[in-house]
Structures are given as structure tokens and as C-alpha cells.
Amino acid sequence: MSKLIFEQSRQGRSAAAQCPHTASYSPSIPSHLLRQDTPLLPEVSELQVVRHYTHLSQQNFSIDTHFYPLGSCTMKYNPRGVHRLAALEGFLKRHPLSLDEASQGFMACAYELQELLKEVTGMKAVSLTPMAGAQGEFAGVAMIRAYHASRQDMLRDEMLVPDAAHGTNPATAAQCGYRVREVSTDSNGNVAIEALRAAVGPHTAGIMLTNPSTLGVFEQHIQEIADIVHEAGGLLYYDGANLNAILGKVLPSQMGFDVMHMNLHKTFATPHGGGGPGGGPVAVNDRLIPFLPIPRVTKRGDTYHWLTAEDCPHSIGRLSAFMGNAGILLRAYMYARLLGKEGMQRVAEFATLNANYLLARLKQAGFTLAYPNRRATHEFIVTLKNEAKTLTIHALDVAKRLLDYHMHAPTMYFPLLVPECLLIEPTETECKETLDAFVDAMVQIIEEARHHPTLLKDAPHHLPVRRLDEVKAARELNLVYRAKFNDDVS
């Protein structure tokens, strides 16, 4: 690791150009409300700061520097032009509570993004405010709850979730006060229809589904599922995490979904920033419109207005202090404008082409597919269960060794249903040469496993750190720097 910024600190040093004038005012605040000690912030020069954080950045893998086939995360290119334009002064300086007459530029973009998202999902209305996929899920499930409550249908206390679902699905259902009931998956990766039939009933509030599922296959019984759940009086929630696979190809509304969220940081190429921000707009069909979270933007004549609690008395309410991750919304809007009608239709096609090409090449190279009889969607699963037996190496070892080949690892050990799995999603923005290089690396790694297994077991070898001890991290919690800690180890 690099020296911490605190370890570079010298008392009395500062980045003086960043300090407001130092006339010492005495605050008109009683002393018992004032701070007496000094917080632990570094005292360093501007150059030290710039060098430290530039140096740290170089210890990261990122889309801009590496192939990043992290399944279910859609790590596609984040256009630079979009980033620069989101930083135009008029956008950066606009206060979220500015009057409408000083906000028409931003509001026009937000309104048009709502319209664009309606068009690509086939839904009837959109709210942009959820700040990430999980908050979009929360909004969606809260709307399902509000819908049943509005009909005095109070017995529905159970949310169905396939066992392959993202962890956020059951966590969200629980946060919305539902009991979670898992539905099993059949051998082809589809929801087991008989299990679903057995699970639905008057207690069913709805089902949360990702399609294509996290298994990288398209749910072939989607219409039957929709009919079964609707007949039981439940609603269908679409987890849009994998929307990239069908963007411009299939409308979630057409599959029978009533409500959904999108992950703008996946499908609409907004930067993921080492863990966020995301963007999780929700879209609904007619019957859920009254419950959409506020604020939304509407257009009357040529001007844009906010829809707030007064206009939407049945709304599930407000999920962020202002307007969600507004800058992410702007970026998604601009990305959609760069793609346009022509580009939007090609996203799913080329994401799917890349995934199926990679699948075919890995299969030819001898890797085992989790669902060999199925097409890949935008992603697919390789299982290393055979290699685990014959070569005693694990998915983790292969993943860590890939890092040495300057490629980010695929998602590993998810979904939980498939043993020793790697979930691989190349995205549409990668070229054939990169995919070929990935196959070469995978083949080479298996070769190494045969002859030099320690190369895998001890990987990575060429990164700033070797394999890290997660167990120690959890047992001996060390979550903040203390000057004393440093003394102890030296």
C-alpha cells in the first residue's frame, strides 16, 4: 500500500491557495457549542495531494484502463464527451431549489429523459428520482404495496423471488415489509413453473424478476409466469439490471411487467465511480402511475414544471432530498441522444453478439458452460466445477490470476446456484481483439493450472498487493487510521 495521506502530514503545512483569507473572526457562537479539538485531516501541500491521489488512482482497474467483463454490471465505455458536458457551468451551478424560470435547461433534459425511457421500456410513466438500482427496487415494491392497499387488498404479504435473483431483490422486499418466498429454477435456467404455481395465492403481492435472468439466459416462460402471477392478483416487478441485453429489442411492458427500474450506470453508460453513483429510475404501467415517487417533471405549453406532493397525493413520496442523482440523469440523457434511434436498437444486438462469440470460443477451448443448451444473452456462465475436481483450482484462483493478465475478473460465485462459476459480460463496446485476448488468457491460465498451480493459488503476483486476507480484516476490525496504530506496528 501507499503511505496514507495522514502519514505525509506535517503540522503547519497547508495548500494555502485553497484556504479562505485567514483574518481570524471570532464567531458569535457560545463556546459550549464550538469545537475545541482539531479533526484528523492531513496538513499537506497541493502538490502532495495531487500526487498522492493520482498515484492511488493508478492502483485501480477501470474501464478506461482494462477489459472489465464483470457479469451483471455492464461495464461498457462511459463517453468522455458526456462527462464534460455534464460539467457545463449552467448545470454545475444550478441549485436544486432554484425557481422554475432559472431551471428550464435542466428540466427540459429531465423531461425528455422520462419520455425516452418510456419509449425504450414501453411503460406509461417514469420517475427519475431513485438514486440506484436498489432504491429503484424499493420504489417499485413500495408502489406494489401502495397499489394493493389502495384496493383494500390487505392480505397480500408475500413477495416471490426466484432463487437466482440479485441479493437486493429479497433485501428490498424485506425492507418493504414483505415476507420473501423463493421460487426454484429448472435445469434450463428458467423459473420452475410448477414451483411457481404452488407458491402463488391470495397472499401473493407480486414477483420480482430479472429477464434475462442472472443466469445469462432469457426466461422462456415469461408470459406464462405473467399470467400465473396476474391471475393470482399479484404484480410483476422487472429488475432492469440486465436491460442491456434487450435494449431496442424487447419491451419489458410487452413481457407483462407492471413496474421496473433501470440501472443507468449499466445500460446508459454513466460512470460507476468505484462504487457509485448509480441511477435507478422507475417506470410503470397505467395502474401504478398515481404512486410514482416525486418529484417528476411535466410540460405545459413550452415550459417545464415540477410535479410534487400536491399534484400527486397518492405518491409513495420522496426518496431523495432533491431530484435524485441529477448529474447522472443528465449523462444518461446525453448518452441516449448520442445513440439516437439508430444506436439504441444496436445495443442489445452487439452486446449479444459479443457474449455469444466469447461463449463459442470458450466452449471450443474446452470450458464447461452452465447452460450448454442455451443461447448467451448479454452474458453467460462458465462453471469450473470440473477443473475444481481434476486440477483442484477454484473460480477464485482463476479470477485472481486473470488480474495478472491485466483483465478484470468476471463476477465470481454468483449466482449461487452454479458451483465454481464465472459470470462473464463483455458488453457491446469491446472489440473482437479484446475478446480474443481474454480467451487466450483463460486458456493459458488453465494450462498453468496443470503445470504450475501455485501461479493460480498465490495470484495475483503483479499487482500492488498479493492476495489479501479477508478473514483477518473481518476478525480484527481496523476501519480508521490512528496515529497510535502506526507506532504499534513500527
Partner: protein, 467 residues
Amino acid sequence: MPFIPHTEQDIKEMLAVIGETSIEALFDEIDDHLKIKKPLSLPPQLTEMELSRFMQERAQKDLAGLCYIGAGAYEHHIPAAVFDIASRGEWMTAYTPYQAEASQGTLQLLFEYQTMMSSLMSLDSSNASLYDGASALAEAILMAVRLSKQNQLSRIFIPRTVHPHYRDVVRAITQQQGIELVEVPYDVKTGQISVTELKTLAKEGMTALVIPQPNFFGILEEVDLLTDWAHAAKAKVIAVVNPMAMALLKPPGQWGTMGADIACGEGQPLGVPLASGGPYYGFLCCKQEWIRQLPGRVVGRTIDLSGKPGFVLTLQAREQHIRRAKATSNICTNQGWLVTASVIYMSLLGPNGLRQAALTSHHHTSLLRESLATIKGVRIPFQAPFFHELVVQFDLPVDVVLTELMRYHIQAGFNLRKTYPELGEALLICVTETKSPDDLQVLAKSLCDVLKKCVAVVSAADHSGSQ
């Protein structure tokens, strides 16, 4: 095809490997009638040049002069280095650091962040961020409910001096879980939490008390007294604070005898632009003993195979991808990129710079308060210590005053008419270090002009009306 690198030759070769003749064939597992038949109704694609021109025109519309609106989002100077560095692709285009060895940059930065934020709050631990201040307060409340381990109904006391939008968000998020939210009125003379009313309301039990510092009116609450009283009543104390103010004001961990249990709030003042309200980031800190109920990502220091120190995501057993329906929260994404900006900002300002930015904001607010107090038709309702915001009242409709001031290229503040109708025609004004004493004189003078003009118009209207 924007951002799609495939040549015709590539497509041919790739399809040959797959054993198909068209891309369409790859979608043959999807029923035909599910597929989009008619072209989507979307605008045609733009080049970057066309988009630039179009967006510049849009951005231009939102440039509206000096902004004195605060109310939860604050304009501070952001050093050029902050976004120059934070916009490096290695920060901006990385995912959540699941592969720790390939993410030491992000992980070390988050560890430094946890250190800075917990020290600012004077508490033991911090998570790696949440979505925004309002949702962080909701998560803090859910955390306090889990900590209380009571079987009876949870009653959370949330004063009306907390940001009205935060209260809305808390309601939206916690109402799904049967938590009772008790609103505590404020004292009309001071703008502080009414301790008398609080004591009466608490007779039926209290799980946690939320204490804002400064409060929504910019007023400072009596944090020591409130914290000790709440702890004596066996309730948890949740601080919701402006983190920049904590360089100047007593931080939550030092409130009263025991300190607040949880501190949360909006990280935006620390290096994040106003930008229409986001992306910002929420922070959440707590005492060490509550760490296992903390939601969100947490980074810990450990060692690698060769004994060298490094960082990983830790305490993952609390999280949704492991615990699923039993997780502490459904949160997955945090706001890593904004935390990156914030850590660079805090490092550049250092302890003195941050205190100076807070102090200058406070001082300039004092200057404005003094000059506004001399203007006829302006009243300052609350007499109590304040940070960098103040409430003023007019005899005239606030919306008229605001619209008139727009002609002077001034956005004068946040209209309290809707959220606090009992205050009448009231405005919340914020002053930070970005406004010079000269700017403040211009504001006072413009306001003076506008009030005179409006009084003349109103009295003329009254006069003609009475004839």
C-alpha cells in the same frame, strides 16, 4: 454506430465462430411476438459536436446569477484539483471494489475517507457512504430501531427543525416498517427544538431522538442538553449535521456526557457542486459498539500473502449479497465517486482551511444579518446562535420579492411559504465564503430597492382598490 467497434468483417468472422449467419438468429429463444416490430420513436443520433452545441444552449438557460439558496445544498469553492483528479478514468470508471487486489486505489481512499469523516464527527467508525443526506437519515433511523431491540412499537422523534424534505424521505422509507414518527415542534422565539413539548411527547416512550446541527433554519440547537436528556430517557441520539460546520462546531461524538450514538448527513458541502441536487453522498458514522448494525459498504485494513498491508471490503456478512432478505439494508451502490472528490477536497483544505471556510461562511452571514436588520420591512424572527443561514420575514409576498430579485441576477433564498406556512412570508437565506462583503451589500441594496418598489405598487393597488 456510436461506441460499437465492430467492422463488417468482424461481424462475419464472429458469426462464423458461433455458427450463425445473422445477429438476429442469436435472439431465436425469444418469442417473436415479444420483439419490437416498429422502430422506436426516438430522436436521431447526434455527434458529440452537435450534442455540445445543443447542451451549451440548455445549460445557458440555468445561469441565474448569485445564489443565496442553501436549504441542504451549499455553494463552496471547489479547488480545480478536486475534479481534475477525481475525473481520472481510474477513479471514475471503476466498479465497486469486489476484486480488492485490483482496487487498492479506491479501497485506500475509502479507508482515508472513513478516517476523516469519523474524526470530523468525533465518532469511532464510518461507512463508505450512502446515497444522500436524506436517505442517510432514514438508514440511521432504521439502524437505531435495530439497536433498540424492543418488541414494542418504535417511536422516533424527529423535530420540525429537520429539513422538511429529509422528513419526507424518512416517512417514505420507514413507513413500510411500521415505525412511528413523532414530530417535535420548535420554539417560535428561538427557532430551536421546543424542549417543553419534547418532554411532554416523550412520556409515551421514545426509541431515538434526531438532533439537527445546525437545524434547517440555520439555528444551533442546544445539543448537550438534548443529548443528555435523551440518553437519560434510554433513547438513542441520531445527529444530522452539516459536515463542514463540524470543523467549527462541537461534533456529535462530543455532545453531552456520552456523545451522539449515530451521526449522519449530507456530504455535499465537502467538495461536491450544487449540480441540481446530485449526485451527492450521504455519510453515516457510529460508535464502535454499533458497527454490526451499520448499513452500507465498509473498508478494512488487512495484510496480503506476504504480510504487506492492504485494504478490502469487510463486514460483508451484514450485506444484501450475502444475507439477502436478512441484510441490514438493501443498499448495494454507494456514492464512491463523490467520496473521491470529497477526500481530495478535505485533504486540500486540511483542518485549518476547513475551519476557515466554515468560519468565513458564518462571519459573512453575521454581516448580512446585521445589514438586513436595518432594512424597513425585514424582520428576523429567531434570536439564537446560528451558523450560515438565517430566516427573514417580509410584509410582502416572498414569491414576488424573489421574482423581482431575479432581475438583479440574484437568487435570494428558499421560500418557506409551503413548508412552514406559520412563519408567513418567510425566506431562508444562506451565505458561504463564496460571497464577498461587496456581494452582500449588493444583496442588501437590491432587496431594499425591491421592497420599496413593491410597497409602492401594493399601496397603489390598495389605494385604487379602496376607491
